[in-house]
Protein backbone atom coordinates (compact mmCIF):
# COMPACT_ATOMS: atom_id res chain seq x y z
CA UNK A 1 0.00 0.00 0.00
CA UNK A 2 2.85 2.39 0.83
CA UNK A 3 4.22 2.03 -2.69
CA UNK A 4 0.85 3.01 -4.18
CA UNK A 5 0.55 5.95 -1.78
CA UNK A 6 4.00 7.19 -2.84
CA UNK A 7 2.95 6.91 -6.50
CA UNK A 8 -0.31 8.77 -5.85
CA UNK A 9 1.41 11.55 -3.96
CA UNK A 10 3.87 12.00 -6.83
CA UNK A 11 1.06 12.15 -9.38
CA UNK A 12 -1.48 14.23 -7.46
CA UNK A 13 0.42 16.95 -5.64
CA UNK A 14 0.78 19.32 -8.57
CA UNK A 15 -2.85 19.09 -9.67
CA UNK A 16 -3.98 19.53 -6.07
CA UNK A 17 -1.78 22.59 -5.66
CA UNK A 18 -3.08 24.13 -8.90
CA UNK A 19 -6.72 23.57 -7.93
CA UNK A 20 -6.02 24.92 -4.44
CA UNK A 21 -4.32 28.04 -5.80
CA UNK A 22 -7.19 28.60 -8.24
CA UNK A 23 -9.63 28.36 -5.34
CA UNK A 24 -7.53 30.75 -3.26
CA UNK A 25 -7.37 33.34 -6.02
CA UNK A 26 -11.06 33.12 -6.95
CA UNK A 27 -12.13 33.49 -3.31
CA UNK A 28 -9.92 36.56 -2.87
CA UNK A 29 -11.23 38.11 -6.08
CA UNK A 30 -14.89 37.38 -5.33
CA UNK A 31 -14.58 38.85 -1.87
CA UNK A 32 -13.00 42.01 -3.21
CA UNK A 33 -15.38 42.45 -6.14
CA UNK A 34 -18.68 41.48 -4.52
CA UNK A 35 -18.95 44.31 -1.95
CA UNK A 36 -18.56 46.77 -4.82
CA UNK A 37 -21.34 45.05 -6.75
CA UNK A 38 -23.45 45.00 -3.60
CA UNK A 39 -23.61 48.81 -3.66
CA UNK A 40 -25.12 48.79 -7.14
CA UNK A 41 -27.28 45.69 -6.63
CA UNK A 42 -30.45 47.56 -5.58
CA UNK A 43 -30.58 49.52 -8.86
CA UNK A 44 -29.71 46.43 -10.85
CA UNK A 45 -32.52 44.38 -9.30
CA UNK A 46 -35.06 47.14 -10.01
CA UNK A 47 -34.04 47.33 -13.65
CA UNK A 48 -33.64 43.55 -14.14
CA UNK A 49 -35.85 41.71 -11.64
CA UNK A 50 -35.07 38.27 -13.15
CA UNK A 51 -31.59 38.53 -11.58
CA UNK A 52 -33.32 37.93 -8.26
CA UNK A 53 -34.38 34.50 -9.53
CA UNK A 54 -30.90 33.70 -10.80
CA UNK A 55 -29.51 34.51 -7.39
CA UNK A 56 -32.21 32.47 -5.69
CA UNK A 57 -31.37 29.54 -7.95
CA UNK A 58 -27.72 29.71 -7.03
CA UNK A 59 -28.21 30.37 -3.34
CA UNK A 60 -31.10 27.98 -2.80
CA UNK A 61 -33.16 30.52 -0.81
CA UNK A 62 -35.75 33.12 -1.79
CA UNK A 63 -34.11 36.50 -2.38
CA UNK A 64 -36.61 39.10 -1.24
CA UNK A 65 -36.09 42.79 -0.53
CA UNK A 66 -32.54 44.04 -0.14
CA UNK A 67 -29.56 41.83 -0.99
CA UNK A 68 -27.82 41.59 2.35
CA UNK A 69 -24.11 41.25 3.00
CA UNK A 70 -24.88 37.80 4.36
CA UNK A 71 -26.35 36.72 1.04
CA UNK A 72 -23.39 38.14 -0.81
CA UNK A 73 -21.07 36.17 1.50
CA UNK A 74 -22.95 33.04 0.59
CA UNK A 75 -22.64 33.92 -3.06
CA UNK A 76 -18.82 33.54 -2.98
CA UNK A 77 -19.36 29.86 -2.11
CA UNK A 78 -21.90 29.13 -4.84
CA UNK A 79 -20.26 31.05 -7.65
CA UNK A 80 -20.11 28.78 -10.73
CA UNK A 81 -16.32 29.12 -10.92
CA UNK A 82 -15.95 27.89 -7.32
CA UNK A 83 -18.21 24.93 -8.04
CA UNK A 84 -16.44 24.24 -11.33
CA UNK A 85 -13.03 24.10 -9.62
CA UNK A 86 -14.28 21.76 -6.94
CA UNK A 87 -16.13 19.50 -9.34
CA UNK A 88 -13.24 19.40 -11.79
CA UNK A 89 -10.90 18.34 -8.97
CA UNK A 90 -13.29 15.65 -7.78
CA UNK A 91 -13.86 14.32 -11.31
CA UNK A 92 -10.17 14.30 -12.21
CA UNK A 93 -9.06 12.58 -9.01
CA UNK A 94 -11.86 10.03 -9.00
CA UNK A 95 -11.34 8.94 -12.61
CA UNK A 96 -7.66 8.14 -12.01
CA UNK A 97 -8.44 4.56 -11.00
CA UNK A 98 -9.43 2.37 -12.64
CA UNK A 99 -10.53 4.33 -15.76
CA UNK A 100 -7.35 6.36 -16.39
CA UNK A 101 -5.01 3.51 -15.40
CA UNK A 102 -6.72 1.16 -17.85
CA UNK A 103 -6.92 3.87 -20.51
CA UNK A 104 -3.18 4.52 -20.51
CA UNK A 105 -2.30 0.85 -19.91
CA UNK A 106 -0.32 1.50 -16.72
CA UNK A 107 -2.66 -0.68 -14.68
CA UNK A 108 -0.61 -3.72 -15.76
CA UNK A 109 2.40 -2.39 -13.89
CA UNK A 110 0.32 -1.09 -10.97
CA UNK A 111 -1.55 -4.35 -10.40
CA UNK A 112 1.65 -6.30 -11.06
CA UNK A 113 2.66 -5.11 -7.59
CA UNK A 114 1.54 -7.18 -4.60
CA UNK A 115 -1.48 -4.98 -3.95
CA UNK A 116 -5.17 -5.77 -4.00
CA UNK A 117 -7.55 -3.82 -6.20
CA UNK A 118 -9.40 -2.73 -3.08
CA UNK A 119 -6.12 -1.56 -1.57
CA UNK A 120 -5.34 0.60 -4.60
CA UNK A 121 -8.89 1.96 -4.52
CA UNK A 122 -8.49 2.91 -0.85
CA UNK A 123 -5.17 4.63 -1.58
CA UNK A 124 -6.81 6.61 -4.37
CA UNK A 125 -9.68 7.48 -2.03
CA UNK A 126 -7.22 8.76 0.56
CA UNK A 127 -5.67 11.00 -2.12
CA UNK A 128 -9.05 12.27 -3.30
CA UNK A 129 -10.32 13.05 0.22
CA UNK A 130 -7.06 14.76 1.24
CA UNK A 131 -6.93 16.80 -1.96
CA UNK A 132 -10.48 18.05 -1.32
CA UNK A 133 -9.51 19.17 2.17
CA UNK A 134 -6.44 21.00 0.84
CA UNK A 135 -8.44 22.74 -1.89
CA UNK A 136 -11.14 23.84 0.55
CA UNK A 137 -8.53 24.96 3.08
CA UNK A 138 -6.96 27.17 0.42
CA UNK A 139 -10.45 28.44 -0.44
CA UNK A 140 -11.01 29.32 3.21
CA UNK A 141 -7.67 31.12 3.37
CA UNK A 142 -8.61 33.04 0.22
CA UNK A 143 -11.96 33.89 1.77
CA UNK A 144 -10.30 35.18 4.94
CA UNK A 145 -7.83 37.27 2.96
CA UNK A 146 -10.46 38.62 0.57
CA UNK A 147 -13.07 39.32 3.24
CA UNK A 148 -10.78 41.96 4.73
CA UNK A 149 -12.16 44.13 1.94
CA UNK A 150 -15.60 43.90 3.62
CA UNK A 151 -16.77 45.96 6.54
CA UNK A 152 -16.17 44.07 9.78
CA UNK A 153 -19.88 43.84 10.61
CA UNK A 154 -20.62 42.42 7.13
CA UNK A 155 -18.27 39.45 7.57
CA UNK A 156 -19.93 36.21 8.68
CA UNK A 157 -18.55 34.42 11.76
CA UNK A 158 -15.77 31.93 11.09
CA UNK A 159 -17.86 29.12 12.58
CA UNK A 160 -20.54 29.76 9.94
CA UNK A 161 -17.95 29.79 7.18
CA UNK A 162 -16.68 26.45 8.49
CA UNK A 163 -20.23 25.04 8.29
CA UNK A 164 -20.53 26.22 4.68
CA UNK A 165 -17.23 24.47 3.94
CA UNK A 166 -18.53 21.25 5.48
CA UNK A 167 -21.58 21.47 3.22
CA UNK A 168 -19.35 22.17 0.23
CA UNK A 169 -17.12 19.21 1.13
CA UNK A 170 -20.30 17.13 1.10
CA UNK A 171 -20.89 18.24 -2.50
CA UNK A 172 -17.26 17.29 -3.30
CA UNK A 173 -17.86 13.84 -1.80
CA UNK A 174 -21.17 13.31 -3.58
CA UNK A 175 -19.75 14.23 -6.99
CA UNK A 176 -16.60 12.19 -6.29
CA UNK A 177 -18.57 9.15 -5.15
CA UNK A 178 -20.65 9.17 -8.33
CA UNK A 179 -17.46 9.63 -10.34
CA UNK A 180 -15.89 6.60 -8.63
CA UNK A 181 -18.88 4.54 -9.74
CA UNK A 182 -18.69 5.74 -13.35
CA UNK A 183 -14.91 5.25 -13.40
CA UNK A 184 -15.23 1.68 -12.13
CA UNK A 185 -17.49 0.87 -15.07
CA UNK A 186 -15.25 2.47 -17.67
CA UNK A 187 -12.08 1.59 -19.59
CA UNK A 188 -11.69 5.10 -20.98
CA UNK A 189 -11.12 8.14 -18.81
CA UNK A 190 -12.52 10.53 -21.41
CA UNK A 191 -15.78 8.60 -21.48
CA UNK A 192 -16.01 8.54 -17.68
CA UNK A 193 -15.35 12.28 -17.47
CA UNK A 194 -17.93 13.00 -20.18
CA UNK A 195 -20.60 10.95 -18.40
CA UNK A 196 -20.05 12.52 -15.00
CA UNK A 197 -19.74 16.01 -16.51
CA UNK A 198 -23.14 15.49 -18.12
CA UNK A 199 -24.58 14.36 -14.77
CA UNK A 200 -23.13 17.37 -12.93
CA UNK A 201 -24.26 19.79 -15.63
CA UNK A 202 -27.76 18.31 -15.57
CA UNK A 203 -27.74 18.63 -11.79
CA UNK A 204 -26.74 22.28 -12.03
CA UNK A 205 -29.32 23.07 -14.71
CA UNK A 206 -32.08 21.22 -12.86
CA UNK A 207 -31.41 23.21 -9.73
CA UNK A 208 -31.47 26.38 -11.81
CA UNK A 209 -34.58 25.54 -13.83
CA UNK A 210 -36.52 24.66 -10.69
CA UNK A 211 -36.72 28.39 -9.95
CA UNK A 212 -38.54 29.11 -13.20
CA UNK A 213 -40.23 25.90 -14.31
CA UNK A 214 -42.71 24.01 -12.15
CA UNK A 215 -42.08 20.46 -13.53
CA UNK A 216 -38.39 20.84 -12.60
CA UNK A 217 -39.39 21.59 -9.00
CA UNK A 218 -40.65 18.01 -8.64
CA UNK A 219 -37.31 16.65 -9.80
CA UNK A 220 -35.00 19.04 -8.02
CA UNK A 221 -34.34 16.47 -5.28
CA UNK A 222 -32.24 14.66 -7.88
CA UNK A 223 -29.81 17.58 -8.04
CA UNK A 224 -26.75 17.47 -5.81
CA UNK A 225 -27.03 21.25 -5.43
CA UNK A 226 -30.45 20.90 -3.81
CA UNK A 227 -28.55 19.73 -0.72
CA UNK A 228 -26.05 22.58 -0.77
CA UNK A 229 -27.49 25.63 1.04
CA UNK A 230 -24.79 28.11 2.08
CA UNK A 231 -27.25 31.02 2.29
CA UNK A 232 -29.52 29.06 4.63
CA UNK A 233 -26.50 28.13 6.78
CA UNK A 234 -25.44 31.78 7.07
CA UNK A 235 -29.03 32.85 7.73
CA UNK A 236 -29.94 30.15 10.27
CA UNK A 237 -26.52 29.64 11.81
CA UNK A 238 -26.82 25.87 11.37
CA UNK A 239 -26.43 23.25 8.69
CA UNK A 240 -29.43 21.08 7.79
CA UNK A 241 -28.42 17.56 8.88
CA UNK A 242 -30.68 16.04 6.21
CA UNK A 243 -28.72 17.83 3.47
CA UNK A 244 -25.42 16.63 4.83
CA UNK A 245 -26.65 13.07 5.30
CA UNK A 246 -28.01 13.02 1.76
CA UNK A 247 -24.72 14.27 0.25
CA UNK A 248 -22.66 11.77 2.26
CA UNK A 249 -25.10 8.99 1.38
CA UNK A 250 -24.83 9.76 -2.35
CA UNK A 251 -21.05 9.87 -2.10
CA UNK A 252 -20.77 6.74 0.01
CA UNK A 253 -23.15 4.73 -2.17
CA UNK A 254 -21.33 5.65 -5.37
CA UNK A 255 -17.93 5.06 -3.76
CA UNK A 256 -18.88 1.67 -2.28
CA UNK A 257 -20.47 0.49 -5.53
CA UNK A 258 -17.34 1.62 -7.38
CA UNK A 259 -15.15 -0.31 -4.93
CA UNK A 260 -17.05 -3.56 -5.42
CA UNK A 261 -17.22 -3.22 -9.19
CA UNK A 262 -13.50 -2.42 -9.41
CA UNK A 263 -12.65 -5.43 -7.25
CA UNK A 264 -14.79 -7.83 -9.28
CA UNK A 265 -14.47 -6.66 -12.86
CA UNK A 266 -12.12 -8.05 -15.47
CA UNK A 267 -9.45 -5.67 -16.64
CA UNK A 268 -8.48 -5.45 -20.31
CA UNK A 269 -6.01 -2.90 -21.61
CA UNK A 270 -6.15 -3.93 -25.25
Amino acid sequence: MRGVLIKNLREMWLATLLFALAMLVIEILLNIILPQILGQMGDLLERMPFIRQFLAALLGVEVEGEITAQLMSAFVWVHPVVLAILWAASIIFCTRYPAAEIDRGTIDVLLGLPVSRRGVYLCETAGWLSAGLVILAFGAIGYLIGSRAMELEQRPALALVALVMVNLYGVYLAVGGLTCLVSSLSDRRGRAVAVIFAVVLASFLLNFLAQFWDPAKHLVFLSVLDYYQPAAILRDGAIAPADLIMLFAIGLTGWAAGLEITARRSICTT
Partner: protein
Amino acid sequence: MTPVIETHQLARRYGPRIGVDGIDLRIEPGEVFGFLGPNGAGKTTFIRVLLGFLRPTSGGARIFGRDCWHDSRAIKREVGYLPGDVRLYPWLTVRRAVGIIQAAHRGDFQGPGRDLAARLDIDPDLPVRKMSRGMRQKLALIIALVHGPKLLVLDEPTSALDPLVQITLADLLRQRCRAGVTVFFSSHTLSEVEHLCDRVAVVRKGRIVADEPIDDLRKRARREVVIRFESAAAAAAAEPPPDGLTVIERDGDRWRAELAGEAGALRQWLARQPVRDLMIGPPDLRTIFHAYYRETEDLD
Protein backbone atom coordinates in the same frame (compact mmCIF):
# COMPACT_ATOMS: atom_id res chain seq x y z
CA MET B 1 5.54 -31.17 -5.27
CA THR B 2 3.10 -28.30 -5.84
CA PRO B 3 3.34 -27.12 -9.44
CA VAL B 4 4.22 -23.46 -9.96
CA ILE B 5 1.43 -22.98 -12.48
CA GLU B 6 -1.52 -25.30 -12.86
CA THR B 7 -4.62 -24.70 -14.95
CA HIS B 8 -7.61 -26.96 -15.34
CA GLN B 9 -9.93 -26.58 -18.33
CA LEU B 10 -9.26 -22.87 -18.21
CA ALA B 11 -11.51 -20.83 -20.48
CA ARG B 12 -11.96 -17.13 -20.92
CA ARG B 13 -14.36 -15.71 -23.47
CA TYR B 14 -15.09 -12.12 -24.47
CA GLY B 15 -18.74 -12.44 -25.35
CA PRO B 16 -18.86 -14.73 -28.36
CA ARG B 17 -15.11 -14.38 -28.98
CA ILE B 18 -12.77 -16.99 -27.50
CA GLY B 19 -9.71 -15.84 -25.60
CA VAL B 20 -8.54 -19.18 -24.25
CA ASP B 21 -10.50 -22.41 -24.29
CA GLY B 22 -10.02 -25.51 -22.15
CA ILE B 23 -6.35 -25.07 -21.32
CA ASP B 24 -4.80 -27.73 -19.06
CA LEU B 25 -1.25 -26.91 -18.11
CA ARG B 26 1.16 -27.88 -15.36
CA ILE B 27 4.51 -26.15 -14.97
CA GLU B 28 6.97 -27.51 -12.41
CA PRO B 29 9.44 -25.48 -10.32
CA GLY B 30 12.57 -24.45 -12.20
CA GLU B 31 11.12 -25.01 -15.66
CA VAL B 32 11.61 -22.49 -18.42
CA PHE B 33 8.35 -22.76 -20.28
CA GLY B 34 7.75 -21.24 -23.68
CA PHE B 35 4.23 -20.31 -24.66
CA LEU B 36 4.28 -19.96 -28.38
CA GLY B 37 1.67 -18.76 -30.79
CA PRO B 38 0.89 -16.09 -33.35
CA ASN B 39 -0.71 -12.77 -32.46
CA GLY B 40 -4.28 -13.24 -31.26
CA ALA B 41 -3.78 -16.89 -30.31
CA GLY B 42 -4.69 -16.25 -26.65
CA LYS B 43 -1.24 -15.94 -25.05
CA THR B 44 -1.86 -12.57 -23.39
CA THR B 45 -5.36 -13.57 -22.28
CA PHE B 46 -3.88 -16.62 -20.57
CA ILE B 47 -1.26 -14.48 -18.83
CA ARG B 48 -3.89 -11.94 -17.72
CA VAL B 49 -5.90 -14.73 -16.15
CA LEU B 50 -2.77 -15.94 -14.34
CA LEU B 51 -2.10 -12.44 -13.01
CA GLY B 52 -5.70 -11.99 -11.81
CA PHE B 53 -6.63 -9.27 -14.30
CA LEU B 54 -9.26 -11.43 -15.96
CA ARG B 55 -11.72 -13.72 -14.23
CA PRO B 56 -11.93 -17.13 -15.95
CA THR B 57 -15.22 -17.87 -17.66
CA SER B 58 -14.83 -21.48 -16.55
CA GLY B 59 -12.14 -23.74 -15.17
CA GLY B 60 -9.42 -22.50 -12.87
CA ALA B 61 -5.82 -21.39 -12.62
CA ARG B 62 -3.48 -21.71 -9.65
CA ILE B 63 0.00 -20.36 -8.98
CA PHE B 64 1.99 -21.91 -6.12
CA GLY B 65 -1.25 -23.70 -5.22
CA ARG B 66 -3.20 -20.47 -4.82
CA ASP B 67 -6.20 -19.42 -6.86
CA CYS B 68 -5.19 -16.77 -9.39
CA TRP B 69 -8.40 -14.76 -9.08
CA HIS B 70 -9.02 -14.84 -5.33
CA ASP B 71 -5.41 -14.83 -4.05
CA SER B 72 -3.94 -12.54 -6.66
CA ARG B 73 -2.31 -10.20 -4.14
CA ALA B 74 -0.46 -12.97 -2.29
CA ILE B 75 0.62 -14.58 -5.56
CA LYS B 76 2.16 -11.37 -6.84
CA ARG B 77 4.59 -11.29 -3.92
CA GLU B 78 6.34 -14.20 -5.66
CA VAL B 79 5.80 -13.17 -9.27
CA GLY B 80 7.63 -10.78 -11.58
CA TYR B 81 5.49 -9.71 -14.52
CA LEU B 82 6.47 -8.06 -17.77
CA PRO B 83 3.41 -6.96 -19.80
CA GLY B 84 3.38 -7.50 -23.55
CA ASP B 85 2.61 -3.88 -24.31
CA VAL B 86 4.72 -1.93 -21.83
CA ARG B 87 3.12 1.34 -20.72
CA LEU B 88 4.75 3.21 -17.85
CA TYR B 89 4.15 6.43 -15.94
CA PRO B 90 5.92 9.32 -17.69
CA TRP B 91 7.64 10.41 -14.46
CA LEU B 92 8.95 6.95 -13.61
CA THR B 93 12.70 6.34 -13.43
CA VAL B 94 14.59 3.20 -12.43
CA ARG B 95 15.32 4.73 -9.02
CA ARG B 96 11.68 5.73 -8.40
CA ALA B 97 10.39 2.37 -9.63
CA VAL B 98 12.73 0.53 -7.25
CA GLY B 99 11.56 2.82 -4.42
CA ILE B 100 7.90 1.98 -5.11
CA ILE B 101 8.65 -1.75 -5.39
CA GLN B 102 10.60 -1.63 -2.12
CA ALA B 103 7.65 -0.01 -0.39
CA ALA B 104 5.20 -2.49 -1.92
CA HIS B 105 7.30 -5.56 -1.05
CA ARG B 106 8.78 -4.15 2.16
CA GLY B 107 12.34 -5.04 1.15
CA ASP B 108 15.61 -3.40 0.19
CA PHE B 109 16.21 -3.72 -3.55
CA GLN B 110 18.56 -0.78 -4.14
CA GLY B 111 21.50 -3.14 -4.78
CA PRO B 112 19.72 -5.42 -7.27
CA GLY B 113 18.21 -2.31 -8.89
CA ARG B 114 21.64 -0.78 -9.45
CA ASP B 115 23.04 -4.08 -10.78
CA LEU B 116 20.18 -4.57 -13.23
CA ALA B 117 20.39 -0.96 -14.42
CA ALA B 118 24.12 -1.42 -15.04
CA ARG B 119 23.67 -4.75 -16.85
CA LEU B 120 20.89 -3.42 -19.03
CA ASP B 121 22.74 -0.15 -19.53
CA ILE B 122 20.05 2.27 -18.45
CA ASP B 123 20.39 5.59 -16.61
CA PRO B 124 18.68 5.18 -13.19
CA ASP B 125 17.46 8.78 -13.21
CA LEU B 126 16.12 9.05 -16.75
CA PRO B 127 12.34 9.52 -16.72
CA VAL B 128 10.13 7.42 -18.99
CA ARG B 129 8.99 10.47 -20.99
CA LYS B 130 12.57 10.80 -22.29
CA MET B 131 13.09 7.10 -22.96
CA SER B 132 13.02 5.23 -26.25
CA ARG B 133 10.78 2.17 -26.56
CA GLY B 134 13.72 -0.13 -25.91
CA MET B 135 14.66 1.77 -22.74
CA ARG B 136 11.08 1.51 -21.48
CA GLN B 137 11.23 -2.23 -22.09
CA LYS B 138 14.44 -2.39 -20.04
CA LEU B 139 12.82 -0.49 -17.17
CA ALA B 140 9.83 -2.84 -17.29
CA LEU B 141 12.25 -5.78 -17.10
CA ILE B 142 13.90 -4.26 -14.04
CA ILE B 143 10.45 -3.86 -12.44
CA ALA B 144 9.77 -7.55 -13.13
CA LEU B 145 13.13 -8.82 -11.91
CA VAL B 146 14.32 -6.55 -9.10
CA HIS B 147 12.49 -8.14 -6.18
CA GLY B 148 13.86 -11.60 -6.96
CA PRO B 149 10.57 -13.37 -7.75
CA LYS B 150 10.24 -17.17 -7.78
CA LEU B 151 8.18 -17.02 -10.98
CA LEU B 152 8.75 -14.77 -13.94
CA VAL B 153 5.86 -14.21 -16.33
CA LEU B 154 7.23 -12.51 -19.41
CA ASP B 155 4.93 -11.54 -22.26
CA GLU B 156 7.07 -11.14 -25.38
CA PRO B 157 10.02 -9.76 -23.41
CA THR B 158 12.45 -9.20 -26.24
CA SER B 159 10.20 -7.03 -28.39
CA ALA B 160 11.86 -3.62 -28.75
CA LEU B 161 15.20 -4.87 -27.42
CA ASP B 162 18.28 -4.72 -29.62
CA PRO B 163 20.18 -8.01 -30.22
CA LEU B 164 22.88 -7.23 -27.63
CA VAL B 165 20.32 -6.56 -24.90
CA GLN B 166 18.47 -9.71 -25.94
CA ILE B 167 21.66 -11.65 -25.21
CA THR B 168 22.00 -9.89 -21.83
CA LEU B 169 18.39 -10.74 -21.03
CA ALA B 170 18.92 -14.38 -21.99
CA ASP B 171 21.96 -14.48 -19.66
CA LEU B 172 19.94 -12.91 -16.86
CA LEU B 173 17.16 -15.44 -17.30
CA ARG B 174 19.58 -18.39 -17.40
CA GLN B 175 21.15 -17.07 -14.20
CA ARG B 176 17.75 -16.89 -12.52
CA CYS B 177 16.86 -20.36 -13.77
CA ARG B 178 20.02 -21.80 -12.24
CA ALA B 179 18.86 -20.28 -8.95
CA GLY B 180 15.58 -22.22 -9.27
CA VAL B 181 13.33 -19.51 -10.69
CA THR B 182 10.53 -20.70 -12.96
CA VAL B 183 10.03 -18.76 -16.17
CA PHE B 184 6.84 -18.55 -18.19
CA PHE B 185 7.84 -17.02 -21.46
CA SER B 186 5.34 -16.02 -24.11
CA SER B 187 6.38 -15.24 -27.63
CA HIS B 188 5.38 -15.40 -31.24
CA THR B 189 9.03 -15.73 -32.26
CA LEU B 190 10.25 -19.29 -32.24
CA SER B 191 13.96 -18.46 -32.13
CA GLU B 192 13.85 -16.77 -28.70
CA VAL B 193 11.82 -19.59 -27.19
CA GLU B 194 14.06 -22.19 -28.79
CA HIS B 195 17.23 -20.86 -27.18
CA LEU B 196 15.83 -20.38 -23.68
CA CYS B 197 13.09 -22.85 -22.96
CA ASP B 198 13.08 -26.43 -21.67
CA ARG B 199 9.52 -27.02 -22.74
CA VAL B 200 7.21 -25.37 -25.17
CA ALA B 201 3.48 -25.25 -25.73
CA VAL B 202 2.00 -24.09 -29.00
CA VAL B 203 -1.28 -22.27 -28.69
CA ARG B 204 -3.70 -21.59 -31.47
CA LYS B 205 -7.18 -20.05 -31.35
CA GLY B 206 -7.09 -20.27 -27.56
CA ARG B 207 -6.24 -23.98 -27.42
CA ILE B 208 -2.95 -25.75 -26.79
CA VAL B 209 -2.16 -27.78 -29.88
CA ALA B 210 1.23 -29.09 -28.70
CA ASP B 211 3.05 -29.28 -25.39
CA GLU B 212 6.39 -31.07 -25.22
CA PRO B 213 10.06 -30.69 -24.24
CA ILE B 214 12.07 -28.65 -26.69
CA ASP B 215 14.59 -31.55 -27.08
CA ASP B 216 11.81 -33.85 -28.29
CA LEU B 217 10.77 -31.22 -30.78
CA ARG B 218 14.36 -30.91 -31.96
CA LYS B 219 14.58 -34.67 -32.50
CA ARG B 220 11.51 -34.56 -34.68
CA ALA B 221 12.47 -31.42 -36.51
CA ARG B 222 13.73 -31.60 -40.06
CA ARG B 223 17.29 -30.52 -40.80
CA GLU B 224 18.56 -29.07 -44.02
CA VAL B 225 21.20 -31.23 -45.71
CA VAL B 226 23.40 -30.13 -48.60
CA ILE B 227 25.43 -32.86 -50.30
CA ARG B 228 28.11 -32.07 -52.86
CA PHE B 229 29.15 -35.04 -55.02
CA GLU B 230 32.49 -35.45 -56.82
CA SER B 231 30.81 -34.57 -60.11
CA ALA B 232 27.43 -34.07 -61.71
CA ALA B 233 27.70 -37.55 -63.20
CA ALA B 234 28.38 -39.05 -59.75
CA ALA B 235 25.34 -37.21 -58.42
CA ALA B 236 23.20 -38.58 -61.20
CA ALA B 237 24.47 -42.12 -60.55
CA ALA B 238 24.02 -41.97 -56.77
CA GLU B 239 21.92 -44.60 -55.01
CA PRO B 240 18.35 -43.64 -54.10
CA PRO B 241 18.33 -41.59 -50.89
CA PRO B 242 17.74 -43.47 -47.60
CA ASP B 243 14.53 -43.32 -45.56
CA GLY B 244 14.13 -39.94 -43.87
CA LEU B 245 16.02 -37.98 -46.50
CA THR B 246 13.86 -36.08 -48.95
CA VAL B 247 15.68 -34.48 -51.85
CA ILE B 248 14.21 -31.09 -52.59
CA GLU B 249 16.53 -29.88 -55.28
CA ARG B 250 19.09 -31.52 -57.60
CA ASP B 251 21.45 -29.02 -59.19
CA GLY B 252 24.45 -30.54 -60.98
CA ASP B 253 26.80 -32.02 -58.41
CA ARG B 254 24.69 -30.58 -55.54
CA TRP B 255 21.65 -31.98 -53.73
CA ARG B 256 19.61 -29.98 -51.28
CA ALA B 257 17.54 -32.22 -49.01
CA GLU B 258 15.63 -32.40 -45.73
CA LEU B 259 16.43 -34.96 -43.05
CA ALA B 260 13.74 -36.19 -40.67
CA GLY B 261 14.80 -38.13 -37.57
CA GLU B 262 18.22 -39.59 -36.68
CA ALA B 263 21.17 -39.39 -39.06
CA GLY B 264 22.26 -43.10 -38.81
CA ALA B 265 20.81 -44.29 -42.14
CA LEU B 266 22.11 -41.17 -43.86
CA ARG B 267 25.63 -41.77 -42.52
CA GLN B 268 25.67 -45.37 -43.86
CA TRP B 269 24.31 -44.24 -47.24
CA LEU B 270 26.88 -41.43 -47.49
CA ALA B 271 29.73 -43.88 -46.86
CA ARG B 272 28.84 -45.63 -50.14
CA GLN B 273 28.54 -42.43 -52.23
CA PRO B 274 31.29 -40.40 -53.94
CA VAL B 275 30.70 -37.35 -51.76
CA ARG B 276 33.09 -34.38 -51.72
CA ASP B 277 31.41 -32.20 -49.10
CA LEU B 278 28.48 -32.29 -46.69
CA MET B 279 26.56 -29.71 -44.66
CA ILE B 280 23.87 -30.61 -42.09
CA GLY B 281 21.98 -27.66 -40.58
CA PRO B 282 20.45 -27.40 -37.09
CA PRO B 283 16.95 -28.76 -36.43
CA ASP B 284 14.45 -26.42 -37.99
CA LEU B 285 11.67 -26.01 -35.43
CA ARG B 286 9.88 -23.57 -37.67
CA THR B 287 8.69 -26.37 -39.90
CA ILE B 288 7.21 -28.19 -36.89
CA PHE B 289 5.66 -25.00 -35.62
CA HIS B 290 4.11 -24.31 -39.01
CA ALA B 291 3.01 -27.94 -39.30
CA TYR B 292 1.00 -27.62 -36.07
CA TYR B 293 -0.83 -24.71 -37.58
CA ARG B 294 -1.48 -26.46 -40.83
CA GLU B 295 -2.74 -29.58 -39.02
CA THR B 296 -5.17 -27.65 -36.88
CA GLU B 297 -6.31 -25.64 -39.87
CA ASP B 298 -7.04 -28.93 -41.63
CA LEU B 299 -8.99 -30.08 -38.62
CA ASP B 300 -11.02 -26.91 -38.72
